[in-house]
């Protein structure tokens, strides 16, 4: 059980190289903010509107709003979320870099009524930030929540291997 309890913070970089598939930020794929760093768009149809955010959180069972990307997190708390998901073998998820999109950054805070980044959504539902995800990881809740989404946590297999070794 010790692996469930202790999380060793690994900094992204060498280990993440080559995992290009993990969470290309959709906000970079041109949801309306156009080329690099263009001006902030107004409310209604902007990338930070409730409708736009709703679409993003519902697009995939696991959606993360963070600073930087899974391959290159730019904030320790965002990196923590990426590391925890990685520990559970969750590599296929949607990650959105709010540093690339100020409208989205504000929009996601309004949507969840939560003041900080990162934000984790499971099945379209806001679950919490880094602290809460860490708690869920440590107390086994994350394994359960992933199971409900049809995702089998890699830690279950790790535990199984350990038990088999004991026999």
């Amino acid at each position: 059980m010790s692996r469930l309890v202790r999380v060793a913070w690994r900094l992204a970089g060498a280990t993440a190289a080559g995992r290009g598939r993990a969470g290309r930020a959709l906000s970079q794929a041109g949801t309306g903010t156009g080329g690099g760093g263009g001006g902030a768009e107004g409310g209604g149809s902007g990338s930070g509107s409730r409708e736009a955010v709703e679409r993003l959180v519902r697009a995939h069972p696991v959606v993360v709003f963070m600073k930087g990307s899974p391959a290159q997190p730019l904030c320790g708390f965002s990196n923590a979320v990426v590391q925890i998901l990685r520990l559970h073998g969750v590599e296929d998820y949607r990650a959105h870099d709010v540093l690339q999109d100020p409208d989205l950054r504000q929009g996601i805070k309004n949507y969840s009524n939560w003041p900080t980044i990162p934000q984790v959504y499971l099945n379209g539902e806001f679950v919490g930030g880094c602290d809460i995800l860490l708690q869920m990881h440590q107390n086994g809740d994350l394994v359960e929540e992933l199971k409900k989404l049809g995702i089998r946590s890699a830690l279950l297999d790790a535990e199984k291997e350990k038990d088999q070794d004991k026999k």
């Binding site: 730019l74 900080t116 880094c130």
Partner: protein, 108 residues
Amino acid sequence: GPLARAIRAKLDAALQPTHLQVLDESPRHGGPPGAETHFAVVVVSGHFSGLSPLQRHRLVHAALRTELAGPLHALAIVARTPQQWESDPHVPPRPPCLGGSKHERHQD
């Protein structure tokens, strides 16, 4: 500093904690000492009883709404009931900073 005092006062008033730690972690995030931008709070309060972690964190956010709309840039929260704190008075290690603030084009 002043923000630390404000945070402490607001949490005291809102949650009557039996144990409260307010830590300015700004130096760990690239800021100068006393920058008061990134804080960690450990709040032990009976108010948390029966509430999910999400609900507990929202209570803390509500108490600090003004600060979070202003200078408080990041807030790490440990929220436990007195019983939980008694059986586990330890705080998980903080993730290392990756210099996120330096990547911001302008203040948020």
